[in-house]
């Protein structure tokens, strides 16, 4: 299989977009192309574009996004496909780009992940996201992703002794990291006592989906991120010879039951475990080799559970590691240095690409104040549905 790596990255400021959806998408794309030195028009070398987005058609009334991007950027006749895999659309788009190059069909692929969620009202957005649930046994009841995260959290609390404060500890950490990330949606330092003190917790941190509170889940964000993939054996010939090459060492993806109630062990995230295992095996590494990780913390419970399922900590001990600061920027296993979905934001289709952009910054040594010293190998986990479709990626500069 051909070696595939990243030579360009782009990332818009997450939050409420001030520009139309397609401008946001193209902004991220051009940042990645400029970072790599890729040209448009007659000098274009991009064979293929994949755009990962969950709701551009439903929310923004723009379908066929990838076809529109290729034309707008003047990189015709590059192949173009739009990829929809729920909140894992971004990492799925990267996986397809990786496969396209590894197979020999393409040499250079542009990946963009994007979502314009703030184009609709909060409850329309909540409904849109909930459409990924099972239509007959979940969605029709009015159940939402926060509902399933709440029920999952209660199972973990009952089984492992996890407390509400543990979720807040993860939240505080990720908000602190986001303050060091110019692209993050929220730049507010959060004080643990302010969101956990029983005297005023219901005012500062109200319950949204019991036992989950406002600071236990991500905001609603617009945003786009992009990466430019190239075959290592064509890197010089395509004009990227002087660019830092961050290798995609391994990718894995796995699925689980669509109906959450039908999981064999409802407190497990089986697809996370299987996809990470696949990515580790392809890369020839294990969890002990990961220097920095971006884990899909749409809800803070997921960062804790995923940190266990990918093998960083024993099952049921992820919250203890968070309490001990092991996942902090200066900890033994830094997680979500970008601020995570919690504070960097979670524009669904953009998230999987954004996670990889953060890892590239870390592995290039370009993460500024949030740089993990000596980071050489990173892991990203992008989580679709309520864990029924997960994509994991291992990047390395070794």
């Amino acid at each position: 299989m051909r070696s595939v790596g990243i030579v360009g990255i782009g990332h818009t400021k997450f939050g409420k977009s001030e520009v139309p959806f397609m401008d946001m998408v193209c902004d991220a794309a051009l940042q990645a192309m400029d970072d790599a030195g890729a040209k448009t028009g007659r000098n274009n070398v991009i064979d293929q574009v994949f755009v990962g987005t969950m709701g551009a058609g439903m929310v923004n009334r723009i379908s066929g996004t990838a076809s529109a991007v290729v034309d707008t950027l003047n990189i015709r006749p590059a192949m173009a496909e739009t990829v929809e895999n729920g909140p894992a659309s971004g990492a799925s788009a990267i996986k397809l780009g990786f496969m396209a190059i590894a197979s020999g069909m393409c040499d250079c692929v542009l990946i963009i992940g994007a979502e314009g969620m703030r184009a609709v009202t909060g409850w329309e957005g909540t409904d849109f996201v909930a459409t990924m649930l099972h239509p007959e046994s979940e969605y029709k009841y009015g159940a939402t992703l926060p509902a399933f995260a709440g029920m999952f959290t209660r199972l973990c609390m009952d089984k492992y002794g996890l407390e509400s404060k543990d979720l807040s500890i993860v939240s505080v950490k990720n908000h602190a990291n986001a303050c060091k990330n110019p692209c993050a949606h929220i730049h507010s330092r959060v004080v643990l006592e302010r969101i956990t003190n029983p005297a005023y917790i219901n005012a500062t941190n109200p319950i949204v989906a019991d036992p989950l509170r406002q600071f236990d889940m991500c905001p609603v964000s617009d945003g786009a991120a992009a990466v430019l993939l190239v075959a290592e054996d064509k890197k010089d010939a395509l004009g990227f010879g002087d660019k830092k090459f961050v290798k995609i060492a391994g990718m894995g993806s796995a699925t689980d039951t669509h109906v959450v109630a039908n999981r064999e062990v409802p407190s497990d995230l089986l697809a996370v475990r299987l996809s990470a295992k696949m990515a580790y095996e392809m890369a020839g590494v294990g969890p002990e080799d990961i220097d920095v990780a971006e884990l899909h913390d749409a809800f803070q419970i997921l960062e804790i559970a995923e940190s266990e399922e990918v093998g960083f900590f024993k099952r049921g001990e992820g919250h203890l590691a968070a309490r001990n600061g092991e996942t902090a920027l200066t900890g033994k296993k830094p997680v979500n240095t970008s601020g995570g979905l919690k504070a960097k934001g979670h524009p669904l289709g953009a998230t999987g690409v954004s996670q990889v952009v953060e890892l590239v910054r870390q592995l290039r040594g370009e993460a500024g104040e949030r740089q993990v010293e000596g980071a050489k190998t990173g892991l990203a986990v992008n989580f679709g549905g309520f864990g029924n479709n997960v994509v994991s990626t291992v990047l390395t500069t070794k």
């Binding site: 409904d127 029709k140 009015g142 159940a143 709440g150 209660r154 989950l212 409802p266």
Partner: protein, 123 residues
């Protein structure tokens, strides 16, 4: 009345019970595609629950309670919980069937088509 009854779906080849309806039997050692409908009702145990305050479009109430239950035959299901006080994981409940959504929103159309589903009540 058909809409007001919830069912488990028994594979006619291997006997595995399913909820909700599937096209192919979920037993990894079976390829059955025929199912017998059996009413799913009665006692069940609450595995986990939540109370949600940010409901999606179409729900004009301040909150809803949701739970995942396990029936005595081992089948699990998600549904609404029809009471507010004293909800606890592990408690015994009775599965009833009622209207769980007053109307379904379709793009640029509103179709008044009540949805029936599980509403779990105190045993």
């Amino acid at each position: 009345m058909e809409m007001e009854q919830m069912y488990t779906y028994k594979c006619t080849k291997c006997g595995k019970l399913h909820h909700p309806r599937y096209i192919v039997c979920q037993n990894p050692d079976c390829d059955g595609r025929e199912f017998e409908k059996i009413p799913l009702e009665g006692k069940c145990r609450l595995l986990t629950w939540t109370r949600v305050y940010n409901l999606p479009e179409g729900y004009m109430c301040p909150w809803l309670n949701f739970g995942i239950v396990e029936f005595e035959n081992g089948v699990r299901a998600t549904g609404q919980i029809g009471f507010d006080e004293g909800i606890e994981s592990g408690m015994e409940l009775i599965a009833t069937v009622g209207i769980v959504k007053e109307k379904t929103i379709l793009y640029k159309e509103t179709v008044v088509a009540p949805q029936h589903g599980f509403i779990f009540q105190k045993a």
